[in-house]
Symmetry: C2
Subunit: 408 residues, 2 copies
């Protein structure tokens, strides 16, 4: 008898019919002889509706009260899914974040899970019950209701799986799994049977939004093997797990793309220690997420920094840079470029294979695609290209590494 | 500086505009120099909507899960009312039933308050906060979410007022207070400035549905003086309090009526000990609330019992009686009568004044109203009359005791 944790997102429980469908799936896993813990999100639309009400009452709702308000969405889901299971004859019990023993820390609306005390859940499982746990929520040490922010239900599922030492954790979603590239862009993209945590993290941070990075990081930290699979069919999905030697046989696991990027280049920065930190600090203070960073010394002896960000942040970034640059670098100038996109090739095989960058750059060159910035990590090569060319670029790199074919 | 507990029902928080109105009222009390604790219900309609969803999923929803589902209604209200208060510049904090320290016992959906540990609330009050507490809910000793059933938010308000030693507890509702009779029936009915707990209990159990009896009983037990008043205006309402000697000067405090009653009379019951207990026990097992009970011995030497109930329960009562009567009282027969109503005259002054019953019966007789059953308690005389005559009866008794005029 295996213990399975299944996570169902807001779309999967978005109507009473879908809730019945979730109940049927849970029952099916149960009928196959497993213990099942379902982690569910709020019915899709509810959270937005509640946030809308809050904003009608006040421009800046208190985050403490937003947590109290939003946590009701998942609480409704667990009760309704439990009832649907009971209607199918399954002995089900709902479990709120507090009852699941999920203790959190951090600011309201962006909680982090500190620990999980599964005593109540374990008792219920021992008594033969099927559990329906509220995703996205926990409770602070002083008893306040706390939500976990974006991707919070995934995080709950991973944490519950870790605490209960589950055999499998299934993240059931509206995609079939993790693909070698977005199938809407690269038609012969292939579903990966397996991917390592680190590859998944690089894919996620490079635009493959199957899951938030922090859930993957949490799973890696606690060694929770999980599977991303569809809530609409029974196809096997993608197992996300610790890397093992066989994985390195594949040079590139996948290619991910991120659109709507913009670049800022600052020239004429005095080549002095601490300058970069001050400039990036100003952007961090303005809550702008910087992605790629390239720096060097120009022929004029001044430093130049380039970095990318979401295009929406371009204006805010320029405004944040202006005062600090006029103060620290009176000779500096800012150039900006929007309409670019990022392409990343990701694979732990890169560590033991050479020539990856040259294969990639050659493929792009042969297809007439100009490369802007380049940045690399141990398991990723990322480049910026003109946004109009990103799909061609993705297909070229996907082909160059033969990602449409399963490795031998 | 007084500590005021205010209870707002579902209609009072039934829309975002009404929530703003509640916030303005709370702020007003606060601006007058008081500490304020608002106890709120779910927005009207929400509870019914949630129950509807539950019943779409399953015919008999688990009461444990219903509690989890329904408690979200009040949790949403406290967050929204707190936000509306914050928008007005009031330092408000929401408090769930659990956070209010409301510990309950009893079956799910019909919880009883066992104790209230107000540590968190007291700390917030000491810090100058205005509190918004979820009505209708608490938590069991083992951490389960528990709702308090009908009138639960009133109960919460009374319990919070008792635990915090509040100076005033205001039950804000859609009526102005407690009247000498229903003003829709008796046009010159008068709002009572004051009524004793016991009178309020007799009025409530006789159809004046301003509040559920158990909230009044709870207030009596813990000596919580409360005021029933309108949430729509600033008129003083009715103070419900312990009786004091002056109250006895008034013979009758009020007249209440209850429609849609039915009577069952059983004749031919052997006059043996324990028979009544067995018959009433069968009705209790069938969850039928019996109201008036009249028993005596007929000229044939057999006992006869008559009792009243809501007309809706008549069929269920007959079905419950049939097997036990054929077993215990083979010579018995059942007569039934629907289309009757109950009129009660209530007042603690009855204890020290004689002639109350004769005044009442004379008034009814002079108006051509025939009396069916009669039952009395120390502070109440109740009669059944034909339902078509109940309004005439109420006016006749109201006039006979000059209830339209304030006592000297």
């Amino acid at each position: 008898m295996a213990l399975i944790v299944q996570k169902y997102g807001g779309t999967s429980v978005g109507s009473l019919d879908r809730i019945r469908n979730v109940a049927a799936r849970v029952k099916h896993a149960r009928d196959e002889g497993n213990q099942v813990v379902a982690v569910v999100s709020a019915m899709s639309g509810i959270t937005d509706k509640l946030i809308g009400m809050a904003h009608e009452l006040t421009q800046e709702p208190s985050e403490r009260e937003l947590d109290v308000l939003l946590a009701t969405g998942e609480q409704q889901s667990i009760a309704l899914v439990s009832m649907a299971l009971q209607e199918l004859g399954v002995d089900a019990a709902s479990v709120t974040g507090r009852q699941a023993g999920i203790q959190t820390t951090g600011t309201h609306t962006r909680g982090r899970i500190m620990q999980l005390e599964p005593k109540l859940m374990q008792g219920y499982l021992d008594a033969g019950k099927t559990l329906v746990v509220a995703g996205f929520q926990g409770i602070t040490a002083d008893g306040m209701i706390h939500t976990l922010g974006r991707g919070g239900s995934d995080l709950t599922a991973i944490a519950v799986a870790a605490a209960l030492k589950a055999d499998i954790c299934q993240i059931l979603t509206d995609v079939d799994g993790v693909y070698t590239c977005d199938p809407r862009v690269v038609q012969n993209a292939r579903k990966l049977p397996e991917i390592s945590y680190d590859e998944m993290l690089e894919m996620a941070s490079s635009g493959s939004k199957v899951m938030q990075s922090r859930s993957v990081e949490f799973a890696k930290k606690f060694g929770v093997v999980f599977e991303v699979r569809s809530s609409l069919n029974d196809n096997p999905g993608t197992i996300v797990t610790q890397e093992h030697p066989n994985m390195e046989d594949v040079v590139i696991r996948g290619v991910s793309i991120e659109r709507s990027q913009a670049r800022i280049t600052i020239t004429g920065i005095p080549d002095e220690p601490g300058m970069s930190g001050k400039i990036l600090g100003a952007l961090a203070d303005a809550e702008i997420n910087i992605d790629m960073i390239v720096s060097n010394i120009a022929h004029d002896g001044f430093a130049r920094h380039s970095f990318t960000m979401h295009a929406n942040d371009l204006g805010k970034a320029q405004a944040a840079l202006k005062p600090i640059l006029s103060d620290l670098a009176p000779d500096s100038a800012i150039q900006t470029e929007a309409g670019i996109a990022k392409l990343s090739a990701v694979g732990i095989g890169m560590r033991s294979h050479s020539g990856v960058a040259s294969t990639m750059f050659k493929a792009l060159g042969e297809n007439g695609i100009n490369i802007g910035m380049i940045s690399t990590s141990e398991i990723k090569i990322a480049v910026t290209v003109d946004e109009a060319q990103i799909e061609d670029a993705a297909r070229a790199v996907h082909d160059a590494f033969h990602l449409d074919k399963a490795p031998a």
